[in-house]
Every structure is written in structure tokens, then in C-alpha cells.
């Protein structure tokens, strides 16, 4: 009998090429996703060494971070010279090294962490990397997926391998049933608030429990996506029938007998009974309420009806200083509730929440309502595929009738390097993943929340408890 193993251990050991004493493991990478921002220097490195890409067939490129979300013909005229150079560079690099690329405007294009699963590149049991910290998203399929730096992008291009120290395993068990108006985003914001922004550093999270099993794949992706916001490089969910049903028939998954074989293999991945994690944290889904962040990191969150903390709530002087600094930046008063706080912008999009179920949830709130005058509401689908699906369902018509902007796919205001950004001092409710100072634009202030809570804020013009709208 072999020792019982966790999902993580199975995927990890299946990919170790070499492990010498006192050295990190050489880990094989099944799928390498690249984009325009973190890859050009890696290709330059290859050229300087005079070596090629080992497995262009395991490398997929998209353009998402610096692409504008206006229609391409409109945006092209005003496109930033540097952004254009970066996009052209990726196209040229992909051509030179024989890598499949989904360029800006292409019908297969979209945010890297949206198109991977959507086209079936992402599969259970794989190792997946990308020069982007939200690569953890793909862990929703039972893959070991994590973000890497540009030097490592070069390593993977050249060798299809990475040097990695084996991380620790953290089980996050989420049991219970979510109340109406409470979503996957609230689970992960609740976890970030519980662990703090560095709480899972050095760990890979495996999400377990009935509340995780009950989530659809898009909800699981939202949860895994923000694992990095608690410091974990990766988050994983064991594959199950929900996973297989999502994947079956997608463009790049095996077909016919190969599909049956793949599913049989994937069924061996879940953690064995009795396997041990280095640490376990639990969260009661039934006690969660709609969450929102008030501060300048994703761990600074609370239930939308709760009052903000006060400096006296922090024993540690440096934590107190960080809290006070965050409130100064956000221009908020300690001890007061965030509920009713006026907002200027609503951003529904990003690799966290720009999939079809996110847009359906938001459309349910916008339907028959209007965006509050003075508020700018931007809806940015995560890919052209999502956009097409939303339009087929008439969601775009609902958004437009409400007075919201229906944009082209891209990272948009999550990263604010593509023309979409907050103005100094503006408050936004965003479905993205980071509320760092200036993240959504210099001087901009971000409240992170679910698509439901964001849509509610768009129609009321203030931070709102979505449950009050669901009841009316």
C-alpha cells in the first residue's frame, strides 16, 4: 500500500524530472501561457543565448494586459506607442518561435486565465505556469498552476521546466450552504480577511468541503484566482463530475476514447482518505455575508453591513499603522459602516469575475433598473467567447438599457495600463482582485466585491447590501 497522498502531492510528484539533494526539484511544465507584458525580456534572453523554445506546442500566447477595451478600429488610432510596441513584439516573437497566439481583436482572444479553461487547454493534473500571479485560477480544475517571473518564463520557454522548492500544503475546508446573495467571491474575500494578505505564504491551498463541491467551475475559478491574495502561489480543487461536465467537448480536450482515458486518469487525482496537510483552516459558508474590502490590500475586508474596524482593534503596532495608512488613503472613517458610501465607478470584469455566470448575475440586477446618474458602470467580458455568449443571451442589451458600458475583452481597469483607469480620488466597486493603492489608476480607491454587489452599487450609487435588492 502506498501512503495516502494529497491532490497536490500527486500532481507534484508526477512532474518531478530530477530532485538532487539540497537542490530544488526540476519540475516539468505541461502548459505555459504567455502574454505581452512579462514575456519580451524572456524571448530576448533566448535570443542572446542562441536557443529556441523547447515545446512551442505546449505554449499559448494571448494579448490582454495592455490591450484597450474599445473596439479595435477605434482604439488603434489612439493606441499608446509603447503598448503597440509590446503587442507587436509578442506577435513577432510568437512567429519567430512558432507559438500559437491569439492576438488583440481575434475571436479566440481574451484574458489569459479566461481562455485557458474556456478552450480546454487547462486540464486536471497538469502543471501550468504563466508570468502572472493569477495563474492560480487554473487550479480550479485540479491542476498545479502558479505565477512566475520573467526569468522563469525564459527557463520554461527554453527547457519546459522550472526549479521549484516543494511548497507546504494548506487545506481550506469550506462547509455549509451559501445564503442568497452570497457567492464564490464572498468565500475568497472572507478567506483573505481571515488569513490576511500574507497568511498562506509558502503554501499551496487545496479547497475542500461541501461549499466548494457545490460551486460551478466558474465559481471555483474565482476562488482559486485569489489564492495569491492570501499569499498562496496556488489554489487547487479536486476534479469531479462538475469539472468533467465543464470540460467535455471543449476545443482542446481529448476526444472519443482518449477522453474516457483522460477522465479515468483524472478520477485518481483527488486527495486520498487519510492524507495529511501541513495545516487546515476552516470557513463556515453558511455564516458568510456579502463581503467588501475597505482598505488597500485584499485582506482588509468585512461583511458589507459591518462597521470598519478602529485602531484599537489592532494590538500589533505595525498592523495598526498599516490600518491607519490604508484609511488615510481611502479617506474613510474608522468605526463607521461602509454601507451607503457613495461611489463613482463600477467595474465588472477581470480574470476573477468576467465569465458568463458573472455577467448573468450582474445582468439579473441591472435588468429593469438604471445605473445611478453620475456613476460610470463598465462591463468588460473576459474573452470574445464570453462576449459572444453574453450577446446571444441578450445580456449586452440589458447592460446598455441600464446605461452601463459594454466593452471589448481585456484586463481593463483591473491593471489600469490599457487606457481604462480611475481618476484620482474616485471610488470604485470592482469585481477584480486587488485594491492596492493606485492599482486601478493613480489615486483611485477600490472596494473589491462580487458581481452582484458591484451591480447593486451601480444602480444605487453607493455601497449596498445586495440582499436588500434581491428581496425587493
Amino acid at each position: 500500500m502506498t501512503e495516502p497522498r494529497t491532490l497536490f502531492e500527486k500532481v507534484w510528484s508526477d512532474h518531478v524530472v530530477v530532485e538532487e539533494p539540497d537542490r530544488p526539484a526540476v519540475l516539468y511544465i505541461d502548459l505555459h501561457l504567455i502574454h505581452e507584458v512579462t514575456s519580451p525580456q524572456a524571448f530576448s534572453g533566448l535570443r542572446a543565448r542562441g536557443i529556441g523554445v523547447r515545446r512551442p506546442d505546449r505554449t499559448i500566447a494571448t494579448m490582454d494586459h495592455s490591450t484597450p477595451t474599445l473596439p479595435r478600429d477605434v482604439a488603434l488610432a489612439g493606441l499608446d506607442v509603447l503598448a503597440k510596441k509590446q503587442l507587436d513584439k509578442l506577435a513577432a516573437n510568437c512567429e519567430e518561435f512558432g507559438i500559437e497566439v491569439f492576438p488583440w481583436g481575434d475571436q479566440r482572444n481574451g484574458i489569459v486565465h479566461i481562455i485557458g479553461p474556456e478552450r480546454g487547454f487547462t486540464q486536471p493534473g497538469q502543471t501550468i505556469v504563466c508570468g502572472d500571479s493569477h495563474t492560480s485560477t487554473h487550479g480550479a480544475f485540479g491542476a498545479l498552476a502558479f505565477g512566475i517571473g520573467t526569468s522563469e518564463v525564459e527557463h520554461v520557454l527554453a527547457s519546459q521546466c522550472l526549479l521549484q522548492r516543494r511548497p507546504k500544503a494548506l487545506e481550506v475546508r469550506v462547509d455549509g450552504t451559501l445564503m442568497p446573495g452570497v457567492t464564490a467571491k464572498d468565500i475568497i474575500l472572507g478567506l483573505c480577511a481571515k488569513l490576511g494578505i500574507g497568511g498562506a505564504t509558502g503554501h499551496v491551498i487545496e479547497y475542500t468541503g461541501s461549499a466548494i463541491r457545490a460551486l460551478d467551475m466558474e465559481g471555483r475559478m474565482t476562488v482559486c484566482n485569489m489564492s495569491i491574495e492570501a499569499g498562496a502561489r496556488a489554489g487547487m480543487v479536486a476534479p469531479d463530475e462538475t469539472t468533467f461536465a465543464y470540460l467535455e467537448g471543449r476545443e482542446r480536450v481529448p476526444k472519443g476514447a482518449a477522453w474516457d482515458e483522460a477522465v479515468a486518469r483524472w478520477r485518481t487525482l483527488p486527495t486520498d482518505p487519510g492524507a495529511r496537510y501541513d495545516k487546515t483552516v476552516t470557513l463556515d459558508a453558511s455564516k458568510l455575508t456579502p463581503m467588501i474590502t475597505y482598505g488597500t490590500n485584499p485582506g482588509m475586508g468585512l461583511g458589507v453591513t459591518e462597521p470598519l474596524p478602529t485602531p484599537d482593534d489592532f494590538d500589533d503596532p505595525s498592523e495598526r499603522a498599516a490600518f491607519e495608512k490604508a484609511l488615510r488613503y481611502m479617506d474613510l472613517e474608522p468605526g463607521k459602516p461602509l454601507l451607503g458610501h457613495p461611489i463613482d465607478v463600477v467595474f465588472i470584469g477581470s480574470c476573477t469575475n468576467a465569465r458568463i455566470t458573472d455577467l448573468r448575475a450582474a445582468a439579473g440586477i441591472f435588468a429593469g433598473r438604471k445605473v445611478k446618474p453620475g456613476v460610470r458602470a463598465m462591463i468588460v467580458p473576459g474573452s470574445h467567447e464570453v462576449k459572444k455568449q453574453a450577446q446571444a443571451e441578450g445580456l449586452d442589451a440589458i447592460f446598455k438599457a441600464a446605461g452601463a458600458e459594454w466593452r471589448e475583452p481585456g484586463c481593463s481597469m483591473c491593471i489600469a495600463m490599457n487606457g481604462d483607469h480611475l481618476e484620482p480620488g474616485q471610488y470604485a466597486v470592482s469585481t477584480s482582485n486587488r485594491n492596492f493603492e493606485g492599482r486601478q489608476g493613480k489615486g483611485g480607491r477600490t472596494f473589491l466585491a462580487s458581481p452582484l454587489t458591484a451591480a447593486a452599487a451601480a444602480v444605487t450609487g453607493e455601497v449596498t447590501d445586495i440582499r436588500t435588492l434581491l428581496m425587493s
Binding site: 524530472v17 530530477v18 539540497d22 537542490r23 530544488p24 526540476v26 516539468y28 507584458v37 512579462t38 519580451p40 525580456q41 530576448s44 534572453g45 543565448r49 495592455s66 509603447l82 503598448a83 510596441k85 509590446q86 513584439k89 508570468g131 502572472d132 500571479s133 505565477g147 512566475i148 517571473g149 520573467t150 526569468s151 525564459e154 527557463h155 527554453a158 527547457s159 519546459q160 521546466c161 526549479l163 522548492r165 511548497p167 494578505i197 500574507g198 505564504t201 509558502g202 495569491i228 499569499g231 502561489r233 490590500n297 505595525s318 498592523e319 499603522a321 498599516a322 495608512k325 491593471i415 489600469a416 495600463m417 484620482p424 486587488r434 492596492f436 493603492e437 493606485g438 492599482r439 493613480k442
Partner: protein, 195 residues
């Protein structure tokens, strides 16, 4: 990669916790296709006022920070995105070592690949160091990577931990890709086993 053996320098104190990579180098400066020129935008939104002039209240702009090669930062330095532009910006400004109670995983890995040494110390040592450097901005610290020691301004010597392979690479200026490529036969065998 540049070698790192020993370093003696005065330090820049930045007590803030959870300094994220969006503060180290805001995303709008990531539209570059090479690694150079990022030093001017290091900590841009803290370092410059709205009119573009240097913010006199930010520590990097103090004359005493000039020439410093060590930054002492609060806990969980480098959290957030995977952008290697963060260590590129820090080294372009002139920094060679960072001291904190902890670093975010991806940032630490990126720093080590750029000859930028992340030194993790205990809360107590960190508190004393921060106070000593804030009290005397000319105070010098010495780092000896081979011995894994940090000499504080008061003369106290503390040991720090570092991954032995990362240490070996830094001491010898070894590039990790060469090491990975030396396993070409094993990589091919792995690919054949999993084909």
C-alpha cells in the same frame, strides 16, 4: 547574473508592511520590452507629488538615502503581482539587498534571480535594526552571504537563513537556466514517459 558575496552599506528604512509590487513599480510602467530604465519610477506614486516633483516626505528622496544599497522594509515585502520589473526597478535604483521579516514567494524568487538578496530576520532584530537606522541614517550594515550573517550598526551579528541552492547561485553568479538545461536527457525521458 551579478555575484553577491559581501556588502557593507547604509540603509533606507521603509517601515510599511505588505508593500506590494504595484507600489514598487506601478503597472503603467510595465509597457516596456527590456529591463532597463525602471529605476526612475521605483515607488513612483510615493516618491513624486502630483506635479511630478520629488515628495520631500518620502524616504527615498532624503539626501541620507543617496547611495544606499540596502532597504529595510516591513513584513511581507513584494506581495501582489509576479512582475519581475519590481526587482529590476529596485536594482536599477542601486539596491543590492533587502531586509524584512518576510517576503512574498514570487517576489523572493524573482529577486534571487537578479542578484538582489532578500534577508529575513526575526521581529526583534527587525525592530532594533529599523530603530537604529532611523536614528542614524549613516549607520552601516554588513552582509556576508557565505557566512549568512548580518552585522547590525551596534556591532551585533545575526545569522539569517537562505535556500542553499540560491546561495550557491548568488555567490558564484550562476545562472539557473544553465543548471536546468544540464538535465536535458532526463527532461526528454520525462517527456517520453508522459507522451
Amino acid at each position: 547574473m551579478a555575484r553577491f558575496t559581501k556588502l557593507t552599506s547604509h540603509a533606507v528604512p521603509l517601515p510599511a508592511e505588505n508593500v506590494d509590487t504595484d507600489q514598487i513599480i506601478p503597472a503603467r510602467f510595465l509597457k516596456v520590452i527590456d529591463k532597463s530604465g525602471l529605476g526612475d519610477n521605483l515607488f513612483c506614486d510615493w516618491r513624486y507629488l502630483a506635479d511630478g516633483s520629488p515628495n520631500p516626505d518620502f524616504v527615498l528622496n532624503e539626501p541620507a538615502s543617496e547611495g544606499a544599497q540596502i532597504l529595510i522594509a516591513g513584513d511581507n515585502f513584494g506581495c501582489g503581482s509576479s512582475r519581475e520589473h519590481a526587482p529590476w526597478a529596485l536594482t536599477a535604483w542601486g539596491l543590492r539587498a533587502l531586509i524584512s521579516t518576510s517576503f512574498a514567494d514570487i517576489f523572493k524568487s524573482n529577486a534571487l534571480k537578479n542578484g538582489l538578496l532578500p534577508v529575513e530576520v526575526s521581529d526583534d532584530v527587525h525592530r532594533e535594526l529599523m530603530a537604529a537606522v532611523q536614528a542614524d541614517r549613516a549607520a552601516e550594515l554588513s552582509i556576508d552571504l557565505e557566512a549568512q550573517t548580518l552585522r547590525c550598526p551596534g556591532g551585533e551579528v545575526v545569522r539569517f537563513e537562505i535556500d542553499p541552492f540560491a546561495k550557491h547561485c548568488l555567490l558564484n553568479g550562476i545562472d539557473q537556466l544553465g543548471y536546468i538545461l544540464s538535465f536535458d536527457a532526463q527532461i526528454t525521458a520525462h517527456e517520453q514517459r508522459h507522451a
